[in-house]
Subunit: 82 residues, 2 copies
């Protein structure tokens, strides 16, 4: 398992309810890929969302996001954390 | 106070020691701008660093990063968190 930070662009105007619904959609199916979404942060002005997860691979993270209806634009393995 | 996620690009090959040194340089002076850097994650392959902070403004975050020698490329206020 590794830690990943993924980024979604073009989410301008995202509301708190939108973010919560998207996150819940991920959580509902994440176990099927052995992914654990830990936290998500959103900047509705620039339309940027950051999701932190633990997962076996970037592909596993993307499969969950894709099935939940919101493909990530970038997925970064983040092996260094301070 | 608000929460911010800032992003640094072009940091390919960053080591754990580099990340720790950069973070320590921020921590050493952050109180002067009432900023609290909470965590940082790095992807040395793509050269991307994400820093999470609490601060009075994006400008305060940037002033600390600039004085510590590593200007952020993006600073996002992230008022939405799940």
């Amino acid at each position: 398992m590794a830690e990943f930070m993924d980024v979604h662009h073009n989410m301008k105007g995202l509301s708190e309810a939108d973010l919560k619904a998207a996150h819940e959609a991920d959580l509902a199916i994440q176990a099927e890929e052995n992914v654990q979404f830990k936290q998500a942060w959103a900047d509705p002005d620039s339309g940027t969302v950051f999701c932190l997860s633990e997962a076996p691979s970037a592909e596993a993270v993307q499969r969950i996001h894709e099935r939940a209806g919101h493909l990530a634009d970038e997925i970064h393995a983040v092996p260094l954390v301070v």
